[in-house]
Symmetry: C2
Subunit: 355 residues, 2 copies
């Protein structure tokens, strides 16, 4: 199933037949993804850079990576300043990779401008983003386009607008989203699009593999993998944000037992009711609870967003699973209130942004 | 019932028969209380000052008061540096007024040193503090001593250790705590102790009354009054603290409906189950919900404590009512989780204090 030989729409690229990839979002995750894809020598990347377009065009990115070492003044094959500018180039993309924050408004605005970049029968969408049900708005807008998503465990962040500090190995799971398809689309086509991407991505990790456990794994059940990551994101990430504390402080205080573990078990109950019980088994819960030491000073991504007055990925991390909980009649008293608290915090961020 | 003529143990003071009052706690509330009591010309105040003892002895307090105007270099009749020093003076007090934060550890340490200051048959305890069931530890330690408590609406705070900014008129309700009494103690004695204090306190407000609505009201049901104040303190005060936002921000955001009002209604349900339904009627709830404008920049006391890394009055404001909820079988999902979040925050404050 996962062999590139089965791809119907893609052929293995030769030097003159490189894959064309457009990467939207140039944060810690997106820039490393762009680097890895070019590093595969099987893809040309067009990076869409908004505010940092001129800076990157002038001096590129500086990357300090646990996987790839120190790379200075690195530029993607091609940089453009907007989706509209990318469309004007009239390239035909094999993959459009979306690595922005998964925020409803941002997703809507990307979708509104994405159509000219999609070549029917050729282009696939890759979503390297947090949360649940992130594929749904793309599948609704582009029902005939293969979509796959990645659950990424990479620890990579911007230290300034063009400098990346990539601290934890690039480990990800990728799997196809099997949305409603018409006759022209087979489940195999969707899967094969994901498989080709995984193949290319792993080629781009070749230099890392002797040193780290960097890897990109093709999975059949990406939704299960997304629920498993939510065990962490819907509990640690949200509670550290409400309380403005580190992972270690949450693990060491009374909230470990009164809030964290019950919140994680609520997510497990919802996932189980939705048919993903295997992905959130007791063993996995125990791993999640004990993976970080009580001395961890990690401040999760949502807390970092709050502290920097950036919008929170609240809808994909809590809103979407709570919608499933409601559909399935699963009680989630802790997560519901955490959602309400963070909605209030999000509201305040919006007010501040409006000032 | 409330006439001073009915007091068994107190006589109206003449110039040579002033009431002796010891005030513990010299924050915004305690200093104004000390001032008002001396201002009555019916009481001598001994103020117990710890860290600020020398400063006050040297230059007194500066008070800017909506009720009493600008008062500089004001000193109580007598200042001492500790409860032990007060005991060494071997005065016989009519009233010991406790105006510290209501914190379990602090209450325990005060109780441990209070006995030498209490003259059986003469001394009463006045608690000007927040929260529920604050009288219980004092009643357990001093079962034969009359105790009454005050629900104070004063807006008064320290701007530095000896400067008071008193912004909102001194309005309070005072009522006796009718704890277990033996034969020597009648309900009337307890009530009359409160009545005398109210009488003296109102005399001390005489200069304020033509200007403001400052007043001290004797009430029969102080427990009901404490529940009514909890409608505000257990909802606005706690939620603004968890969210680190002002009263206006809570009222303007989505949390107004999802968190604030339901939390207030949980307190009302508990109070009703405990027999204080009259004190938390729908009218009173509506008053509480609409009393502050959505533009209010007020940061409630618990939030100010959190921001200054001081311990929170969590047990008397949420712990005690939640204990009643448990006893009465009342469901309090929001308040229970708010308590857990604030317990985690309190734990962190303790950790920081220990560093």
């Amino acid at each position: 199933m996962s062999s590139p030989a089965r791809c119907l729409n893609h052929s293995l690229p030769s030097v003159k037949n490189m894959l064309e990839v457009c990467v939207i979002g140039a944060g810690g995750v997106g820039t490393i993804a762009a680097y890895v894809l070019e590093n595969s020598q099987r893809a040309h990347v067009t990076a869409i850079l908004r505010s940092k377009y001129l800076l990157v065009k002038e001096r590129g990115f500086d990357i300090e990576s646990i996987d790839h070492g120190k790379v200075t003044n690195w530029r993607p094959h091609n940089v453009v300043s907007s989706l509209v500018a990318a469309a004007a180039e009239k390239k035909s993309y094999d993959f459009i990779v979306i690595t922005t924050k998964a925020l409803p408004d941002l997703t809507s605005s990307i979708i509104a401008e994405l159509k000219p970049l999609i070549t029917p029968g050729k282009t696939s969408l890759a979503l390297i983003q947090n949360g649940l049900a992130i594929e749904a708005p793309f599948a609704a807008a582009f029902p005939n386009t293969p979509i796959f998503s990645s659950v990424s465990m990479i620890g990579s962040r911007l230290t300034n607008s063009t400098s990346i500090f990539h601290q934890k190995p690039d480990v990800s799971k990728i799997g196809a989203h099997f949305h409603h398809v018409d006759d022209a689309f087979k489940r195999a086509t969707q899967h094969d699009a994901a498989a080709l991407f995984v193949d290319v991505y792993n080629a781009g990790l070749a230099d890392a593999k002797p040193k780290t456990n960097a890897r990109c794994v093709l999975v059949e059940d990406i939704v299960g993998a997304r629920w498993a990551k939510l065990l962490w994101n819907a509990s640690f990430n949200t509670l550290c944000t409400v309380l403005r504390i580190s992972v270690g402080e949450l693990l060491s205080g009374p909230g470990r037992n009164t809030l964290l573990e019950p919140a994680m078990r609520e997510i497990a109950s919802v996932a189980t009711a939705a048919g993903y019980g295997n992905a959130v088994s007791e063993d996995i819960i125990q791993d999640m609870l004990h993976d970080s030491p009580p001395t961890s000073t990690l401040r999760p991504s949502m807390l970092v967003d709050l502290e920097n007055e950036r919008p929170l990925e609240l809808e994909v991390i809590l809103g979407a699973p709570l919608k499933v909980a409601k559909e399935k009649g699963v009680s989630t008293p802790i997560l519901t209130q955490v959602y309400q608290l963070l909605s209030q915090a999000q509201w305040k961020l919006t007010q501040q942004a409006g000032k």
